[in-house]
């Protein structure tokens, strides 16, 4: 069976600045991978590349066995038309550090928008599923609340429900708890933990070491655009082999 995400020597450049300098890794189905590393190490950029929100400059990136953003014909890569890219993005859920909820819509409208607009699910069906999803993240009483009236933790849980509404096969989390007050982190991590238990494939960029140890099947330490160390969370976090990992962990813990 093919891996859910497979990166082969992925390079990404912004102008002259090379942000990813050859990332190679694999995430299997149902697996949770946590990516750790100092800011500016390219973690978020890598996540965005998986969703083709950023185009890679070299290497190959596959999601569910299919090349991201391109089609390979013979030896040549052809860019995928916008519609195709959008169709693929719809199958990958993404949660952002700053939530990015749609402020002009209620929690339920946030969750039902894409199913109705993109997947062409009926409005009733979408509302039913949206209500259920918001209930699952503990927000059954906030269906008709606008994001501005929700706490950060609640907003992030709506964002998770919004991504799940598209029935993604893969979920990407970009520092989902970094913008939250400490006492609100737990509720978001709990929603993610539950998702992991249900067998969702997840890539989580995070600084939450406890979460990484407990939930992750694989931990990856990135620095300066390369994977420094990868493996079992207890190895990478508990007894890192590389100096750079050790230095970073000593600062975070």
């Amino acid at each position: 069976m093919t891996a859910m995400v497979k990166a082969e020597a992925v390079h990404k450049r912004f102008g002259r600045l090379e942000v990813l300098k050859g990332i190679t890794l694999e995430v299997d189905r149902g697996e949770v991978m946590c990516i750790l590393g100092p800011s500016g190490s390219g973690k978020s950029t890598f996540l965005r590349c998986i969703n083709h929100l950023d185009k890679i400059n070299a290497g190959r990136l596959y999601v569910d066995g299919e090349l991201v953003g391109y089609r390979e014909r013979g030896a040549k890569l052809h860019e995928l038309p916008e519609r195709e890219v959008a169709r693929k993005r719809a199958q990958v859920g993404m949660v952002f550090q700053h939530f990015h909820l749609f402020p002009h819509m209620t929690a339920l409208e946030n969750v039902t928008l894409a199913p109705v607009q993109v997947s062409k699910v009926s409005r009733d069906e979408a509302r039913k599923r949206g209500t259920e999803l918001l209930g699952r993240v503990g927000l059954a009483d906030k269906l008709n609340t606008y994001p501005v009236a929700l706490s950060g933790g609640q907003q992030q849980r709506v964002a998770i429900a919004r991504a799940l509404a598209m029935r993604p096969k893969l979920m990407l989390f970009d520092e989902p708890t970094s913008a939250l007050d400490p006492e609100l982190v737990g509720e978001v991590l709990e929603a993610m933990r539950q998702l992991a238990r249900e067998g969702m494939t997840m890539i989580v960029v995070t600084h939450e070491m406890g979460f990484a140890r407990e939930v992750a099947d694989k931990a990856v330490f990135m620095d300066d655009g390369v994977v420094v160390e990868a493996g079992q969370p207890e190895d990478v976090l508990g007894s890192p082999k590389h100096e750079r990992t050790r230095t970073f962990l000593s600062k975070v813990l």
Partner: protein, 309 residues
């Protein structure tokens, strides 16, 4: 006395409510008196001066020709502002297009129509027959479908639509563009990650949020439009000022009829103010802003210092 007992006692007993003597503001009263004095003088001269001829104003205020002009002005404002908004959205989206030809075309349109006086544009459209005696509709360099004389197509109404609508579109496009740019990029990112298309994102996510920024200046534009319809007097379109003029051309009561027109313009712009308030409230959903001081609360605190004794 034991110190712990002392703090305990202090904590349980609620201190007396503060009733301080407010700061006095004699300057406010002096300023108000000066303003009122000037206002009284102005009102006196308006009421007593013979030149205003208030009985003539009263006579013509509800004249059927004037009311007809009012209706025509309302109709023209709605029509041309509507054209302006549609053109503005199209031009703004074009301007933000990654295609340089498309964005360049939009830039050129804005440059031309913002850069020439509206009155010149209206005169130009009115006299378009001199430039293009016949107008045909078809595919460029290909077959034509409709063919007609310019004079029969470019009626005063069409002149109005072209002149005011195209000019307004150029201004509106800059307003819409500012609104689009004001929306956080994360919104587009989140929508993209959900698989929404560029058009869906624009329509469902970006434009509704841009509206909050777009509406106040659009209200301004609509008020300008309402007043600018008076320029169509040069194209013999029967709007409010034209109606007033056609009456004073006969009876020479110029000032009273200009006052009649002004009263109606004020009435119409006041109605627009109210409309804008409700539209702003509709698109402000999901954004609570600090409540602005209302007129009422300002009255209540005015001069409180010297009155509250």
């Amino acid at each position: 006395m034991d110190t712990s007992e002392l703090t305990k006692e202090k904590r349980t007993e609620r201190p007396e409510e503060i009733k301080a003597v407010p700061v006095r503001h004699p300057g406010r009263w002096i300023a108000a008196a000066i303003v009122l004095l000037f206002a009284a003088a102005a009102v006196r001269s308006i009421v007593t001066s013979q030149g205003f001829q208030w009985h003539v104003v009263g006579h013509y205020l509800f004249d059927s020709r004037i009311l007809h002009g009012v209706l025509a002005t309302v109709y023209l404002t709605a029509l041309c502002q509507g054209i302006g908004i549609v053109l503005g959205v199209v031009a703004a989206v074009m301007r933000l297009s990654p295609n340089p030809i498309v964005s360049g075309a939009s830039w050129l349109y804005i440059w031309f129509f913002r850069g020439t006086p509206l009155l010149v544009q209206i005169l130009f459209w009115y006299n378009i027959a001199a430039l293009f005696p016949t107008i045909s509709l078809g595919i460029p360099f290909g077959p034509t479908f409709v063919h007609a004389h310019a004079n029969s197509i470019v009626t005063p109404l069409v002149t109005a639509m072209l002149g005011l609508g195209l000019n307004e579109g150029a201004y509106m496009s800059e307003i819409v563009r500012a609104g689009i740019i004001s929306v956080d990029e994360g919104q587009t990112l989140a929508a993209q990650s959900l698989g929404m298309s560029r058009l869906q994102i624009m329509r469902r996510i970006v434009l509704p949020q841009a509206m909050r920024v777009i509406i106040p200046p659009t209200g301004n534009e609509t008020i300008s439009m309402l007043k600018n319809t008076s320029l169509l007097i040069v194209a013999s379109y029967g709007e409010l000022l034209f109606s007033a003029q056609s009456i004073y051309d006969v009876n020479y009561k110029v000032i009273p009829l200009l006052i009649v027109a002004s009263i109606w313009y004020l009435v119409m712009t006041s109605v627009l103010y109210v409309g804008q308030y409700f539209v702003e409230r509709r698109f402000g959903r999901g954004f609570t802003r600090a409540e602005r001081a209302t007129m009422r609360s300002r009255w209540l605190t005015f001069g409180a210092g010297s009155m509250a004794r």
